[in-house]
Symmetry: C2
Subunit: 511 residues, 2 copies
């Protein structure tokens, strides 16, 4: 992807982009790039390309048009074009169509025979030279009234410190450019890293991009970023180190100093055609839509809505919308995710069969917690766990007893509830998957402990992190007599018989 397109309509941001990229490095925001998902980037760049094409329409049609900007400018421009369709200059339109057809055809052929013939026809350059000469000799500027590029200053401008006063005005747009430039470059860098087997540091890239924009900001350059086309060209010509870049820089300097003034006679419509055809790759990202539709409908909708936002407003608004939308959707998907797994209990059941006969087959349930326990999924976790407890009648017998109790007007407290205790069930929570938690998560765990206690179920926690143990011990009134936290599941299981013997003993003593 070439940032040329973006820079066309957001010029003079160089210095601010530099500052912001260095700032982002200092904030270590490189680690936040995971928020910029592929659908969002793809939709945003496609939208930006559409904007650039729109800005070239007046040159392609040879129309005079006032400068239209602001929200929904995109639609106003096309409305203006259709209203003034009669003012289209046929000569310019024909020249544009011809240029576009030639460019597309030759580029397709270049790509097709790339493997066989090693030489690529520089059709852009040839077209520029041919049309400039034709325009000069046919005097098209005066005969047909075709707009030409006009005077281009030769060489580099003298370096000048960038204006600081303009910073506050461009800060929002510069943020978008800084981010998009960085992300586009990072994507290429990661591809290259994979190819040549090295690693890329996301944060260092921010610093590198920021610093590489320092010197250009004294020459009024457009913000720099990696260009996919040029990178691919370098790969194909066998470039391996940065010396290749040095050589191409020298070549570009020569062009600037010698060829620039010769572009005076280049018709604007030909230049516009070159820009539009150059954006073909970005516009072709529309094809991604089919892929997203097949892989994930939600990502497809994010693509479409981000594109619409970019079209209606600007690239940075679209980017912001896309990121916020992606986060919001994930936030609302998480509360529905599964939070726990019933473990395979064969071993445990077997053990108890041997020790205490078949009766105690359903005594122990081991549930492993698979996810962090935060406000996003704590409610779901609570509900899921209660479902597991209620299923298989883990607490049914006790509840029936309690029910009987309440019917026989409360006089049975000593006799009928006691047998329940002897049937205590055990729930072992394997917290090895519980990586982090917040206050809500700890509250829910404590609530589960209390809920289970009310149903005569012992809750034992295995593989808890130190911070979780501390938080739970502080937060609630845990049973002080019997240990709740264990280092492993097996140590938790070993601790169960104590309860059982105790309860058995009390049962027998009552009988």
């Amino acid at each position: 992807m070439d940032l040329f397109s973006l820079s066309l309509f957001i010029p003079y941001l160089e210095w601010d982009v530099t500052l912001q990229q260095v700032l982002m490095f200092m904030l270590q925001l490189g680690s936040a790039t995971f928020l910029l998902t592929e659908p969002v980037i793809s939709a945003m760049t496609t939208g930006a390309a559409t904007h650039v094409v729109t800005s070239q329409v007046k040159y392609l049609l040879g129309m005079k048009m006032p400068y239209i900007s602001g929200p929904l400018a995109f639609f106003h421009i096309y409305a203006y074009v259709f209203e003034n369709i009669r003012s289209v200059q046929l000569e310019a339109l024909l020249l544009s169509l011809l240029s576009i057809v030639v460019l597309v055809l030759v580029k397709e052929l270049n790509e097709k025979f790339h493997r066989n013939i090693k030489v690529v026809l520089p059709i852009d350059l040839l077209l520029i030279i041919a049309t400039s000469i034709a325009c000069y000799y046919a005097d098209m500027e005066y005969v047909y009234g075709i707009e030409v590029v006009g005077n281009i200053p030769k060489g580099l401008p003298s370096p000048k410190a960038p204006s600081m006063s303009v910073l506050p005005e461009v800060v929002t747009e510069a943020f978008g450019v800084a981010l998009v430039g960085y992300v586009a470059s990072l994507a290429l860098a990661q591809g290259s890293a994979k190819k040549f087997k090295y690693t890329v540091d996301d944060n260092q890239e921010f610093l590198a991009h920021g610093l590489s924009n320092v010197i250009p900001s004294f020459f009024f350059c457009i913000p720099s970023a990696a260009a996919m086309g040029r990178t691919a060209l370098l790969y194909s010509t066998g470039a391996k180190t940065q010396v290749a870049c040095l050589i191409s820089c020298v070549l570009i300097l020569v062009v600037i100093y010698t060829i620039g003034p010769l572009l005076y006679w280049l018709p604007m419509c030909v230049l516009a055609s070159i820009i539009v055809v150059g954006l073909k790759g970005m516009l072709m990202q529309f094809r991604d839509l089919k892929k997203y539709w097949n892989v994930d409908k939600i990502d497809w909708s994010i693509w479409v809505s981000t594109y619409v936002f970019t079209i209606c407003f600007a690239a940075n608004v679209g980017l912001l919308y896309g990121v916020v939308c992606t986060i919001a959707i994930v936030i609302f998907r998480f509360p529905r995710a599964k939070t726990l797994n019933l473990k395979n209990m064969k071993e445990v059941e077997y053990k108890y069969k041997v020790e205490d006969n078949c009766e105690s087959l359903k005594q122990v349930k081991i549930v492993s917690v698979n996810s962090p326990l935060v406000f996003l999924n704590a409610r779901k976790f609570h509900a899921d766990l209660l479902k597991i407890i209620q299923k298989d009648g883990m607490s049914s017998q006790c509840e029936q007893n309690t029910l009987l109790c309440s019917f026989s007007n409360g006089s049975c407290h000593g006799e009928l509830v006691q047998p329940c205790h002897s049937d205590r069930h055990v729930l072992i929570l394997d917290c090895s998957g519980l990586n982090f938690f917040d206050y809500t998560g700890v509250s829910v765990l404590l609530q589960i402990y209390v809920d289970c206690k009310n149903r005569y179920i012992d809750v034992l926690l295995a593989h808890c992190k130190g911070s979780l143990i501390k938080a739970m011990q502080y937060g609630g009134n845990l049973d002080s007599e019997n240990p709740v936290f264990f280092e492993s599941i097996s140590s938790a299981i070993d601790a169960i018989p104590i309860h059982r013997n105790y309860s058995k003993f009390s049962e027998q003593s009552e009988l």
Copy 2:
């Protein structure tokens, strides 16, 4: 929590609150209440209470003060008080201090002896009556210049349609009030539901709150919400149905029609004292800070920063900040969470020992995916899985062979690489925990498949959802010869020997 406090400084929002709550019901936003975590609500209400206390300071001190509002108004008010500390009216200050001491003491005693004596001393009412009478007979308004409440219109105002033109101006603040009122009520409703064993529908509560504000909006009421104190009182007096509310409504109507005009002589400083003491419960939430500190430091910082935002700006700004901050922190915590678990492999290893002797002990790795695979954790998942593959030399032998190959200038393609194939390792991914995914997640899964293929590892996926299978089949070039998706781990394991026999055969034929 009583919303009286909030409503004091955001009056006349009733109609907008109604509209917004009904709108939120229609958007089914009740399911979004999980975003409002306890620390955020606690900090925001404490901040709101602080604002109300600040607004009462001028009455407590008997000072004349201009109305100060806007951002940082909180600090400007206290700055003004300290600058004009000499204009404090000593009579008002003494009366305020006396009232506060009496109120706090009696309320403490009430609470302490609540169990023994069933009658609660209505100290607020007694204080109002006593000070009003004293003020009237001592003619304090003129003798000491103490400000009094003044004329209160008797009875209800005549109903009047709410003004629609004011809607746009109050929409932001009404949003905050609607949300906070709803959340406070919901918390009480859930407590009550737990107590009396019924369930609460979050969305229906939104509709109920919205509709219950329709009639009051014709009488210029402050927005209604559940009051913790009154709910507790109803519980303690044995109320069970909504008839209790009807009775208390009648009582309040009587008060409005008969006692209102008698409040003319109530000193403002006494009213301010009653308000401040009434907020004691909300201000005491500062004690929560210790709890949050011990349970989760991050929630502690969210509490503190939300409180600071509420103090500096307003309750709705604080609420917004708190929610955004909570989401942002979770978003940045997730990428570091563990995404997978190595399964206990005893069974599998045992099986192969019997069949093929000890050599194939390390052949099969079963990894269970524990979490949804989205842009948040996809990178971490990729890295974790590569670590598991590289550990235990799952691919080391093959890589060495390939290395040898590349040293012996490529002539060995037929002979040396082939033995690698006979040593194919197998990685089984148990996707039963992979509840949902996005485009990034599927890309990473496909990337893992390709990475493993390059290391001569077969990847088999078990327990995949239909949508995941479809997405992966569409997204990448999976091996068409051998099946990749299996219904269960055991069927995946059963499928392995086919490869092994095949590779063994080719090995033998070469030897």
